[in-house]
Structure formats: C-alpha cells, structure tokens
C-alpha cells in the first residue's frame, strides 16, 4: 500500500500517460523521431508492467477530491497486468511498424509528413488511456479513461481527415461508443446512489443481488459490449477500417475492442450477481460469433474480413464470461492474449501486403508466398493461432473454450464447435487467399520494419504453443481477479480422446469442409449479409442520425432563426411558470401594499411619470422621438434615485443618460433615412401586434409578481449596513457608496470596468470601416 508514485504501478501510469506528449515534443523537433521515441516509451512501459507483474502488483491511492469521495486509486492487479502488457507490448510493435508505414501512407496521399506526429501522439494517448483504464479502481476513473480512449480512437480512425469516409467512420465510432459510455456513467451513478461509493473493491464487497444492481450492471455491460463491437452494436467496427492499418491492428487486438471485454472482466463480480445478465452475455456472445463469422466469410476486402472476424472472436470472449466459472473467466483472459497476438499480426500482414501490391481485395491477390516467404510464414503462424491449430498458443484458447462450454452442456458445446469451425474457415480463407494459389499481383519489396513486428508476433504465437506456462500464469492471475478466487487452469496437449479434443478435431473438420465447399454456402451467406444491410442496426443508426438532424433543423428554424420567437419562447414559459407558482402557493400575507407617507408624494409622482414614459416609448413611429422618450425614462429614474437618498446614483444616472442620448442620436444619424423610414412605417399585421401586446402584458405581469414578491419580504438583517457605515471612517472615507465601490467591494468594480474596456474594444471592431460579410 505505497502512497507515492515510485513503485511499478505509479511509474507505469506516469510513463504511459507521458508517452504521448513526449513523442509529440520529439516529433516537433523532427517528425520521424515521434515514432521512435513513442516506441521506446511504449517499450519502457512494457518493461515496467512486466516488472510490476514479477513484483506481484502494486497500487497507488491519492485523495483527489476527498469532499466528493473521489480518489485517484489505481492497482496493478493480475487483470491490469495482462491488459497493460498487451497495450504496451503490442503498442510498441505497432509503433515500430507505423514509423515506417505512416510516412509511406502520407506520401501516397501527398500529405505533409508532420502529420506523422499526430498519428503517433494519438496512438500513444490511446495506450495511456488503456493503461489508466485497466488500472483504475474507481468507476469515475474508469469512465474518464474510457472516454479518453474513445477520443483517441476518433482521431485515429479519422486520421485521413480529407476523406469523407474516414470522417464519417470516426464519427460513427465516436457516437456509438461515446453514447453507450453514458450508460456506463449512469450505471455508476445508480451504484453510487445505493452504496455511496464509486470504489470498485468496496462495491464488490457490498453489492447484493438486487434489481438496481442488475440495472446498473446491464447499463455498464451495454457500454462494454458496444465498445467490444458485439451485435447489434457491431456495425461501427467494420466502418472503422477506414483507419490506417496500424490503427486497426491496435484497435482490434489490444485497445478499443479489448477495452470492452476488459470492462466486462473487471465488473464480472457485479454482473455475476444476476444470472439474467450472464445469460444475456451468452446470447449476445453467440449472436456476435454467428454474425461476425458468417459476414467474415462473405467479405472480399482484407481488412473487412479481419474486422468481422474480430467481432466473432470477441463473441467467444463474451460467451466465456457469460459461462463464467474458473474456466470461463481465466479462459477469457487467455483468449484475449492469444487473439491479440494473432490478430495484430494478421492486420499488420494485411497492411504490408497492401503496401507491397497496392491491392486490398482477396480476389486480386494470391501466390505471394514466393515473393515474401518470411511474411507468409510469420502470418501463417498467426493464422494457425487464430484457427486454434496445435503447436500454437491458439490451440489452448479453444481448449479452454471447449472445456468451459462442456461444463454448461452439450448444446453449448455444439455451438462452440460451430463457432470454432467458422473461425478456421475465415482465417484459412484469408491466409490461403493471399499467399497460396496463382500469383495475381505484382509485389514491390517492402521495408524490414513492416515485416519484423509480424515475425515477432508469429514467433510469440508459436512459442506460446510450445511453452504455455507464462501465458497460463498471466491468464490465471487475471482470471483470479475477475472470478474473485484463484482460477487454476491447466491447458496442455493431451493425446487422448477427451471431449475437448474431439470437439477440436470436429471443428477442424467442419472448418476445412466450409473452406472447400465454399460454392455451396456462399450464396446463402451473401443473402444473409444483404439482409443485414437492409434491415440491420447500421440502417437504424443512419435513420436515427438523419432524424435528429432534421429535428435540430426544425428547432433551429423555429427558435434560433427568428429572434422574436426566441425571445417569446423564453418570456412566455417563464411567465406561465410564475403564474402557476402563484396559483399553487398560498399568497395570504405574502404581498405587502406598503404605506404611503406624505413625504413620499413627490417620489410617487415621479414613479408615475416613469411608468408613463416607459409606455410612451412604445408609441412613436419615428426613431428620434423614441430616443427622446427613452431619455426621459432615464431622467425620471434619476429623479427617483435622488428622492430615494442616493445622490451618487442619481448623478451618474443623469450623466450616463445624457451621454447615451448623444450616442443614440449619433447612431441614428449613421443609418440612412430610408432604412429608418422603412422601419417606422412598415405594415405590422394586427394579429402580430396583438400577439406582441399579449406577450408583453403577461411578461409585465410576471415581472410584477416576482418584484412585488421580493420587495414584500425585506430581510430583517441590517447588520451589513451598520457594519459598512461603521467601517467607512476607518477606510478614510465619508461617502459610504464610494467606499463600497473602491474598497469594500472593489473587486466587483474591477470586473465592471474590465467589462467596459472590453465593450470599447468590441465597439471599435464593429464600427470599423468597410463591409463585413
């Protein structure tokens, strides 16, 4: 329980959050440095996360806003270590890749290479957000970092900002994940209302199974599922492929989409309070597996295939969390690691292939293994990992998946088998389509930096398939955090006919069949895909957005475009509300008529004059008379002030009224006569005139009620007056008002004269020569 930052947890957080500004600063010096510095920072963060893991985790806890019970509390527990290692490790590899890829990308698009800095900075911001998110132990912090990742993803997806498609995709990702993030906040608020804390450990300890916890859990799960691109909120993810390839690789493996399942794992103790929620997760997981798998089989574009495969793969993870138990929770963690390694390698492969050939579609590619054998081998390892072939880390992910499904029942095992078969089919199609078969496209040589990260990831996938213990340890400690008690898992090769092995063999057979028998089912799959486009949620999103846009246009037309309606929409409801308030509250003795003494008679007379002058301002048609009547209102008020024992105010009022009258006349002189005449003699419809009079009357009535109500209740507390009167001699003055202005409430005066100074600046700008449009 260290309180300072000098422990692995604190250092990791600081380094991860400082990475983005550091890289941006380095990039300002020379754009190409941003990537290098960023990759080193990510590597450093990876090292710190690994150190933290070895050191057995650590935590920091700083009171941030103690009065509101908000604390900066972070813990580097098993779950956090796992995701932090992924975010920083894959982040570093992606940055190395990007430091070569992005300059080429910018060159193709004829953009300045300073844009590279933005790319790296936002990717690192993303990484920082992820690290903060996974370590946060407080729902408010989780929400903050959650949104930080959403913002970073918005800029990364929309990195090619000159392309409408990229901007629209970024907006879609932002809206879908950002609006659902509000659900997270609402869920947190519900929990706070019940338990008075945002701190997760306390919530886990105290939350019971109750309808409000279920509601809160469901809301937070919605946010997580939208971020993980689970059906039916999956449609933003394939659109997000508009981003440059390294972004996709990172989004899909270690950041954005992973954040969703991370949140589910983090909140699992709350979700597990309700069987309903877990069953909901199961349903959505299986649905996403099916939707993602079938659609992945129908896509032609490399990145689209991978995008739908991600939806399906995270469907697995959601299913495992829904199944729960030792194997479900630890298996989900294991699955995330295996998937992250394989999927990022495949994305980076897609980017490298497109860079080499200029082709994006499977149909236009083939036979590339002769040109790039190393890439083919490395990505083959990754593809085998995703397809869960033996000798890869992926084999164990499916083994755990089958075990978890078998524990629940044969139906689930059958569904799991179909899901695994689908993933073998689409991954196989992807890899075979690129590297085997007839050569269809010319390939340019590609830089080493585009191949090396893929090789590293491929080697890791194979290494994990041979020595699985480190990944198992990591997953078991993460699963223990999720499940709340130790989750020993023992994935290993068993050369016997146990059920999970049979399921695996069955999945390979079915997958291979799907791969070979493509002509049989492709028509059906395409029909499903078309149906989804016709009636799917993406269409709902478009309709909703279009409807909102039209609605805001309508409101704009009514309320904003016409100043008069706008004023009326403020005044009339206010008047109606006040009227209603008066009607429902008891008014007896609330309003004082107030006595009139003989000495008040002059004042009364002047008040009457003021009121008459006020009404008279509305009468004249020509502006000159109006200006003069307006001045008379001001002078009358000055006399009122003079009679009320306020000579200072009266003096200023007289002087200001004089100078304002001059200014008004000056501005009237500036406007041509015909403009003024048009305004004076334009026809105003009787109905409109009546409407204005009506609005003015009820507004006046509302002002009357408010003012009378306030004036009838003077506070008996007059000590302020006595105090100010007594203090004035001490402040070396005699005129209390002046002393208040310059001394007691001098800061008010300071603000006021600043306003005056700003007004003059505005005036100078507005009265400039020339026509502005």
């Amino acid at each position: 329980m260290t309180q300072h930052l000098l422990n692995p947890a604190g250092l990791l957080l600081v380094v991860a959050l400082l990475a983005a500004p550091t890289a941006a600063l380095a990039g300002l010096r020379r754009p190409s440095w941003a990537g290098i510095v960023g990759a080193s920072m990510a590597g450093l963060a990876f090292g710190l996360a690994a150190w933290g893991w070895r050191a057995g985790g650590d935590r920091i806890d700083v009171a941030w806003a103690p009065t509101w019970d908000l604390r900066l509390s972070f813990a580097l527990d098993g779950l956090a270590v796992l995701y932090a290692l992924l975010a920083t490790g894959i982040g570093a590899l992606v940055l190395i890749y990007a430091s070569r890829y992005v300059p080429l990308h910018l060159e193709h698009q004829h953009r300045p290479h300073t844009d590279e800095i933005r790319f790296h900075a936002f990717l690192l911001l993303f990484m920082g957000g992820m690290v903060g998110l996974v370590m946060a132990q407080d729902l408010v912090l989780i929400f903050v970092f959650w949104d930080l990742t959403a913002i970073a993803s918005y800029y990364l997806i929309g990195f090619d900002r000159h392309e409408a498609e990229a901007r629209a995709s970024a907006l879609m990702a932002m809206l879908v994940t950002g609006i659902s993030a509000v659900c997270l906040l609402i869920g947190a608020m519900l929990l706070y209302a019940d338990y008075g804390t945002f701190a997760l450990p306390e919530l886990f300890a105290r939350a019971e199974s109750s309808p409000s916890v279920t509601t809160a859990g469901a809301l937070m799960a919605i946010a997580a599922l939208a971020k993980s691109a689970q059906a039916p909120l999956h449609f933003w993810l394939p659109r997000a492929m508009a981003a440059p390839t390294p972004v996709s690789a990172y989004l899909h493996s270690a950041a954005m989409v992973a954040a969703g399942v991370f949140l589910l794992s983090r909140l699992y103790p709350l979700l597990a309070r309700s069987d309903l929620l877990l069953d909901g997760l199961l349903t959505i997981g299986f649905l996403s597996m099916a939707v993602g798998g079938i659609l992945a089989l129908t896509r032609e574009e490399l990145k689209q295939v991978l995008a739908y495969s991600t939806i399906s793969q995270y469907g697995y993870v959601v299913v495992m969390l829904g199944l729960g138990g030792t194997y479900g929770t630890a298996g989900a963690a294991f699955y995330v690691v295996a998937h992250a390694l394989a999927k990022s390698a495949l994305f980076l492969t897609a980017g490298a292939v497109t860079e080499a050939t200029g082709e994006k579609r499977l149909a236009a590619l083939g036979g590339l293994w002769r040109r790039m054998p190393l890439l083919a081998a490395a990505s083959g390892a990754a593809a085998a990992g995703l397809a869960a072939l033996p000798l890869t880390v992926g084999f164990f992910k499916d083994e755990l998946f089958f075990v978890a499904a078998l524990k629940r029942g044969p139906v689930f095992a059958a569904l799991a088998l179909v899901g695994a078969a689908l993933s073998l089919a689409y991954v196989g199609r992807f890899w075979i389509g690129i590297f085997l078969g007839r050569s269809r496209a010319e390939a340019q040589p590609i830089p080493t930096a585009l191949v090396a990260p893929v090789v590293v990831l491929g080697v890791l996938v194979i290494a994990g398939g041979i020595v699985v213990e480190p990944v198992t340890d990591l997953a078991a400690s993460a699963g223990a955090v999720t499940y709340g008690s130790p989750t020993p898992i023992h994935p290993a090769y068993h050369l016997d006919a146990r059920p999970e092995n049979l399921l695996a063999v069955g999945a390979w057979a079915l997958g291979a069949f799907l791969l070979v028998a493509r002509p049989i089912w492709v028509g059906v799959a395409l029909a499903v895909a078309r149906l989804g486009e016709r009636i799917g949620p993406a269409r709902g999103y478009r309709l909703l957005l279009g409807g909102l846009n039209r609605f805001s246009d309508r409101i704009h037309a009514i309320e904003v475009r016409d100043l008069r309606s706008r004023v009326a929409t403020v005044l009339v409801p206010a008047a109606v509300l006040v009227g209603a308030g008066v009607l429902v509250t008891p008014t007896r003795d609330q309003f004082l008529v107030g006595g009139v003494r003989g000495a008040d008679l002059p004042l009364l007379l002047v008040l009457l004059l003021t009121a008459i002058a006020g009404v008279a301002t509305c009468v004249p048609r020509d502006h000159l008379s109006m200006a003069l009547v307006l001045s008379s209102v001001g002078y009358c008020l000055a006399v009122v002030y003079a009679f009320s024992g306020a000579p200072d105010v009266a003096l200023v009022a007289v002087l200001i009224e004089t100078i304002f009258a001059l200014l008004f006349l000056g501005v009237l002189a500036l406007l041509p006569r015909q403009v003024l005449r048009y305004e004076s003699f334009r026809a105003v419809g009787t109905r409109r005139g009546l409407r204005d009079a009506f609005v003015a009357t009820i507004t006046g009535g509302f002002a009357f009620v408010v003012v009378w109500g306030v004036l009838s209740r003077p506070s008996p507390q007059q000590s302020v007056i006595v105090e100010q009167a007594d203090l004035t001699p001490a402040a070396h003055g005699k005129d209390i008002v002046t002393v208040i202005l310059a001394d007691f409430r001098g800061l008010d005066t300071m603000g006021e004269i600043t306003v005056i100074a700003i007004a003059l600046v505005g005036l100078a700008g507005l009265l400039q020569r020339g026509r502005l449009r």
């Binding site: 305004e679 009357f704 209390i736 005066t749 502005l772």
Partner: protein, 142 residues
C-alpha cells in the same frame, strides 16, 4: 409604496419586452435599455432600509438608505450603458453588412444563404452515402 414601485418596474419591463419583440433592431435595443432600467429600479428598491443619503456624518435620528444597493445600481447603470453602446454599434454593423436593420429581412437572407450552403455541400459529395449527415466538407487548405 411597495406595490407602486413594483408596478412601475413591471410597466418598464413589459414595455421593454414589447419593444424587444419588434422587427426593428433599433427598437430591440431600446427594449433592452428599458429592461435594464427596470432592473436598476428593482435593485434600488430592494434596499433593506430607506432614509437619508449614506454620507458621513450620519444623521443621529434618521435611518440611512442602504448603500450597498446604491453601489450595485451605480455599477449596473454604467455596465448597462456600455452594453447598450455595444448593441447600437452591432445594429450599425448589421446595417453595413446587410443594408437592413429588419429582422424579417435578415431571417430571409439567412435562409437563402443556408440553402446555398446546403446545395454546395451536396454538390461536393454524396452526403447520404457517406453517412455524414451533418458534417460539411472541409474547405481545401491553402
């Protein structure tokens, strides 16, 4: 007294509201000035005490008028003047830009300009297709 002061404030406020609802921008400014006058009178009459002017030496037998509301009203009057001057120059600027000070005419001009913008946006790209239902294309740089 309370009732009559409130009535005066209400009449000033109502007249101001009536003018603010006009088409003529100059009348709108006059309405704003009237409303701020009403507010000044309101603040002034919200004083806790009435009586003689609050200047030392204070009268021994009579009460003094609340000096705090006086200071506030004083400030409010000067700020009101500054804002009114700014509004007037805004009216003048509207005239130099649009050659009118009429809200209806201005509204029609805005509607026309907006329609033109919308047309331009639709020409530049297929808005519906891109799903970009409310973003306009950025202007080309340089």
């Amino acid at each position: 007294m309370t009732l009559l002061t409130s009535l005066t404030v209400a009449v000033l406020f109502g007249s101001g509201a009536f003018l603010v609802l006009k088409h003529d921008l100059i009348r709108v400014v006059v309405g704003m000035v009237l409303i701020s006058n009403a507010a000044n009178l309101f603040i002034m009459s919200a004083g806790l005490t009435t009586g003689r002017e609050p200047i030392h030496p204070l009268p021994a037998t009579e009460t003094i008028a609340d000096p705090l509301v006086q200071a506030m009203t004083l400030t409010a009057i000067v700020i009101g003047f500054g804002v009114a001057a700014l509004l007037l120059s805004l009216v003048y600027r509207v005239y130099t830009s649009h050659l009118t000070v009429d809200l209806t005419t201005l509204g029609e001009a805005e509607e026309r300009a907006e329609a033109a913008l919308e047309l331009e946006a639709q020409r530049d790209m297929d808005v519906e297709e891109a799903g970009l239902l409310f973003a306009r294309p950025e202007r080309e740089r340089e």
